[in-house]
Each structure stands twice: as structure tokens, then as C-alpha cells.
């Protein structure tokens, strides 16, 4: 018997125990469960869009303009005769892509800056002043203004939404790091000669992960919402792409004639954001027992 054989079962046990703990947590937290299921359904819809869509989301049909929902067009058609159901299903892909990209990018940039700010005083002084300045500019206004600077496209939208979200993540990570770095185990690690990069990534970052994950879900929800606002205001992703924001923007002028162009994608959007927020609230309660006990 080699040493690997002996080590393997205990590692497995550990992961199984952890998984049970996680699943029990999910089952006990109704909001996580509902939010999770709702998100799973919406993600599945987005992934399966090519199979679910009944029409080509870009196909125009001028004979079928502004038709009310029917068996042929479940969510009706828009002013150019495009099928609203198919557009809505495809639009979910863009919204999810924007939401997830913004959440990842914000977490990545925010945690790097936050770690450095928490560790080095001089860096802290500079970076936090910049973050204070960024936070003073209202997020939607900043995102809208940044759309004027570059060619409108998916990447521009993602960056324009990410920049206003970063400061809050930096503040969060920084405050957690400032608490953790005073703990005895960090002192112990420093005294046995662990270098700073390893200290940051292996010793400190893992302990900051819980609040970061919760914050990232909120960022994702807000990104989905802001993408739709940019589209609605006509400064988002180029209009030919069927994003939820763009569908809503197209439907705006026809809201009294054909409410379905706005209603259905708006509902999908609302439920998507609601599901992500519920997941965030639930995760916060689940992963932070101190808060959970109080409620």
C-alpha cells in the first residue's frame, strides 16, 4: 500500500462532508433554492436558445408587424415583424454574458486592488482616493458617459458597467484584508518566511472569498439591469444585436400599441435579476452564520 492510497479516502471524506454541509445549507435556505432553480432555468433557456426559438431572431417579416401573441408568435411580433419570443430567448444570452463577465472582471480587478490596498499603506492612500472619486460619480451616469467615448460594442458595454462597480469590491476586499492581516496565523506565516505574494493569495485571499462571492452576485444582478438601461436609453450594444436592452428600446415607441414587445423581455429580465439577488441574499445568510443567526 502506498502513501497515496492511505491519503485518498480521507480527502474524499472531507469533500463529501463539505458537500453535505453545502447541500443541507441550500435545502434550509429557501431563497437560495428558489433563486438557484430560477437561474438554472433561465441559463438553460439562454443556452438552448437555438433549439427553443421558434423563428430566426433577426428575420424580418413586414406582413406580420405588431401582431399580438398567438400560436405562431407566442410573445407577438415587433414593429419589423420579428418574433419577440425568439428574440427574448436569444437576448438572455447577451444579458447573462454581460452579467457574468462584469461580475468576474469586477471581482478580479477589485480583489487585486483591494489586496494591495489592504497590505501597503502608500498604495492604499492613492487607490482609495481614486475609488472615492469614482464612487462619487453616479454609476448609470458614468456608464452612459463612457459609452460616448468608444465604439459601441459588447466589450465597451462590459467595461462601462464594470468600472463603476469596482470601487465597492475594492473597499470590501480591503476591509477584510485589514482584519485578516492582524490575525495570529498571518503573523506566524510571516515569521516562518512566507513571501508576500504567497501570503496574499494562499493565506489571506481564501478567507476573503465568502464576502467576495456574495458581492459578485449583487454585481452580476446590477450589471444585467444596467445593460438593459443602456440599451433602453439607446446607448448600449449596437441595435441589431437582440439584447434585452435593445428589444426594450425598440418596443419603447410602440408601448401603447404593442405592450408585448416590452412586457415579455422585461419580465424575463426582472425574474433574472430577482433570481440573482435572491441567490445573493441567501448565500449571504448561509455563508455568514453570524448574520444568519440574527434573522
Amino acid at each position: 500500500m502506498t502513501s497515496a492510497d492511505i491519503a485518498a479516502p480521507s480527502a474524499l471524506d472531507f469533500s463529501r462532508k463539505r458537500r453535505h454541509w453545502f447541500l443541507r445549507g441550500v435545502a434550509r435556505h429557501v431563497t437560495v433554492a428558489i433563486g438557484g432553480v430560477l437561474i438554472a432555468v433561465l441559463i438553460a433557456t439562454a443556452i438552448l436558445a437555438p433549439w427553443l426559438a421558434t423563428h430566426d431572431p433577426l428575420a424580418l417579416d413586414v406582413t406580420q408587424r405588431l401582431r399580438a401573441p398567438s400560436a405562431a408568435h407566442w410573445f407577438g411580433t415587433d414593429n419589423l415583424g420579428r418574433d419577440v419570443f425568439s428574440r427574448t430567448v436569444y437576448g438572455g444570452r447577451i444579458s447573462l454574458l454581460v452579467g457574468i463577465s462584469v461580475a468576474l472582471l469586477t471581482t478580479l480587478v477589485g480583489s487585486m486592488l483591494g489586496l494591495l490596498a489592504g497590505m501597503y499603506r502608500w498604495f492604499d492612500a492613492v487607490i482609495m482616493r481614486i475609488m472615492d472619486g469614482l464612487m462619487a460619480i453616479p454609476a448609470i451616469l458614468l456608464a452612459v458617459s463612457m459609452m460616448a467615448l468608444a465604439r459601441p460594442g459588447l466589450l465597451t458595454v462590459i467595461i462601462a458597467i464594470t468600472i463603476p462597480e469596482v470601487p465597492r469590491m475594492v473597499r470590501l476586499v480591503r476591509s477584510v484584508v485589514m482584519v485578516i492581516r492582524e490575525l495570529p496565523y498571518v503573523e506566524a506565516a510571516t515569521s516562518i518566511g512566507v513571501r508576500t505574494p504567497r501570503l496574499l493569495f494562499r493565506y489571506i485571499l481564501p478567507n476573503a472569498l465568502t464576502p467576495m462571492i456574495v458581492q459578485a452576485t449583487y454585481v452580476c444582478a446590477s450589471a444585467v439591469l444596467i445593460e438593459s438601461y443602456l440599451g433602453f436609453l439607446g446607448v448600449g450594444i449596437p441595435p441589431e444585436t437582440p439584447s434585452w436592452g435593445n428589444i426594450l428600446s425598440d418596443g419603447r415607441s410602440y408601448v401603447q400599441l404593442a405592450f408585448w414587445i416590452i412586457f415579455f423581455p422585461g419580465m424575463f429580465l426582472g425574474f433574472m435579476v430577482l433570481a440573482i439577488n435572491m441567490l445573493g441574499d441567501g448565500l449571504r445568510d448561509m455563508l455568514d452564520p453570524k448574520l444568519a443567526r440574527r434573522f
Binding site: I137, I140, A148, L149, V273
Partner: protein
């Protein structure tokens, strides 16, 4: 106390300086050359030169910045590239609708959110609390325009109680003015209310767990004075702080709500400026919106003294 005030004013000034730097750099480090964007596709080299010069883009960066800040201090925010009107004049012309909407929204949100948050905290875990929290989460998640169009459909198109959209200045009479403001402020207020209710609730839960609340209960005080006097007074600072930081959300929301209800305010001005790439107007709006946000939060910080005698009587 004076020390406290001066320190707060100082840090506010620093934040505004940083905002100015960010806004200044934003326009210059963007991937596109602003002059080329403004001039369009058929521009000649001379056109580009002329535009660069009118924007001051041909000077060294530091000089440009100092010159620009100097003019801002003197109240000169430049002029629109399209209408040639001074930026401040354009903004002033759109101030009434935006300020009216922001004020009524805030009033509605504060007057509903604080009682709701208190009731939820008092009934924590029971169905009233769950219902309030569910309402708050939904209102926070649904896009402003869906709530807005929903209300328009119900109250303006079906019931015909209120106008569908538009804005009437106060000079046309208070009835027209207010009826046009009801739906927009209700729409925007719901989102703001959601944020504030959640904050009020969680702060109140914390405060209601304190020893002095138990003392108040045990000496036989009834629910109402405990909740609204003892507890609310101690929860006031975080609640007021949330109202202050929520101003950023409110300003963003105003931009969207103005589009839904065709209100000719600063939000619409911004969107027009962004679609036309009218950089001086964009800069002006960003600076003034941030200034409003920062000044309101300064006032919030200074108001702490009203709620907490420990801050009021601080000597050092």
C-alpha cells in the same frame, strides 16, 4: 465639532478634485480621438486641427488640466459643441424637472420606507416581515421602465386618472405640475424605497437587540415609543447615511425615468449629449451630478451631530 466639520469639508474637496481628474482623463484616454469623433467621417485635417484647438487638445496635458480647472472655478464649464450655448445655461434650463422629480421621489421613498422597515424589524420572521422583504426585493430587481410602463398602463391608460407622460413647470399651476409628477416619482420611488426599507429593517433589528431596549420594555413602555423614539433615534445614523449614498442611485434612476416619461430634464440632456458626443456637456453633467452627490453626503455627515450628542460635543 468645528474640527470635525473642517475635516469633512476638506475630504469632500479632495474627492471633488479626484472626480475632476477622472472626468478630465476620461475624455482624453478614450480609444477614440474626440476631435475625429466630433468632426465625422468627411473631416479634413484643418477641421480636426480647428476642433482640437477649440477643445484645447493641442496644449500639454498638465497645462490643459490646470487651465480647465481654473475656468471651472470661475463657473465656466465651456459650451456645447452643437448648440454653442454655455453648458451651465443648458443644465440650468433642465434643472426644474429633474429637481422636482428627485425631491418628490425622495419624499415618497422616505415616508414609506422608514415605517415599513420599522414594522418589518418589529415583526421579524413573521409573515408581515416576509411580505415587506419580498416586495422590497422585487421592487429592487425589476427594471424601472417595466414598473413605469406598468403604472402608466394601469393609472393613465386604463383608469385615466393621471397623465401618461410629460412635465409641466410649476408656473403652469400646482395641479398640473403635481399630477405629472405622481407616476414618475412613484416609479422611481419604489426602487429607492426598496433599498431604504432593507437598510432600515436590518439596522432596526440590530438596535432592537440592545440592552437599553430590553430595559425600556421591562419598565413597561408600550411598543410605539420604543420603536419610534428609543430605537429609531439610535438607528438614525445608518438610515440617513443610506439615504445619502442612495442619492447616486437616485440620480442614475432619474436618467432612466426621464426617458420613460418623456421629461425634459438633465437625464435627457445627458442622453442627447452622449448620442451626439457633445463632450463639454457630458463633462459638465458628470461634474455637477457628482458635486450634488458629494455635497449631500457632506451634509449627511454633518447631520450626525443632530442625532448623536457624542458627536455634537466632541471636543478634539
Amino acid at each position: 465639532m468645528l474640527n470635525f466639520i473642517l475635516r469633512k469639508i476638506g475630504s469632500t474637496a479632495i474627492v471633488m478634485m479626484v472626480v475632476a481628474v477622472i472626468v478630465f482623463i476620461m475624455i482624453r484616454v478614450g480609444p477614440g480621438d474626440p476631435a475625429a469623433v466630433i468632426a465625422g467621417e468627411h473631416a479634413t485635417t484643418e477641421d480636426l486641427e480647428r476642433i482640437r484647438r477649440s477643445l484645447g487638445l493641442d496644449e500639454p496635458m498638465l497645462y490643459q488640466f490646470l487651465h480647465w480647472v481654473g475656468r471651472l472655478m470661475g463657473g465656466d464649464f465651456g459650451q456645447s459643441l452643437f448648440s454653442r450655448k454655455p453648458v451651465l445655461e443648458l443644465i440650468a434650463g433642465r434643472l426644474e424637472p429633474t429637481l422636482s422629480l428627485a425631491t418628490t421621489t425622495m419624499l415618497f421613498a422616505v415616508c414609506t420606507a422608514i415605517p415599513l422597515g420599522i414594522i418589518a424589524a418589529w415583526q421579524v420572521g413573521r409573515w408581515v416581515d416576509r411580505a415587506v422583504m419580498a416586495l422590497a426585493t422585487v421592487a429592487f430587481s425589476f427594471p424601472i421602465f417595466i414598473i413605469g410602463y406598468g403604472l402608466v398602463w394601469g393609472f393613465a391608460l386604463k383608469l385615466r386618472w393621471l397623465p401618461v407622460q410629460g412635465f409641466r413647470p410649476l408656473s403652469q399651476g400646482p395641479t398640473l405640475y403635481l399630477t405629472h409628477l405622481v407616476l414618475p416619482s412613484l416609479t422611481l420611488g419604489l426602487v429607492f424605497m426598496a433599498l431604504l426599507t432593507r437598510m432600515t429593517r436590518s439596522t432596526m433589528i440590530e438596535v432592537l437587540g440592545e440592552d437599553y431596549i430590553r430595559t425600556a420594555r421591562s419598565k413597561g413602555l408600550s411598543q410605539v415609543p420604543i420603536l419610534f423614539k428609543h430605537a429609531l433615534q439610535n438607528a438614525a445614523i445608518p438610515i440617513v447615511t443610506t439615504i445619502g449614498s442612495g442619492i447616486a442611485l437616485l440620480i442614475g434612476g432619474v436618467v432612466v425615468a426621464e426617458s420613460v416619461f418623456a421629461i425634459p430634464g438633465i437625464g435627457r440632456l445627458t442622453i442627447e449629449a452622449v448620442t451626439q458626443r457633445d463632450y463639454p456637456v457630458i463633462q459638465g453633467v458628470l461634474l455637477l451630478a457628482s458635486l450634488a452627490y458629494v455635497v449631500i453626503n457632506l451634509l449627511v455627515d454633518l447631520s450626525y451631530g443632530l442625532f448623536d450628542p457624542r458627536i455634537r460635543n466632541m471636543t478634539s
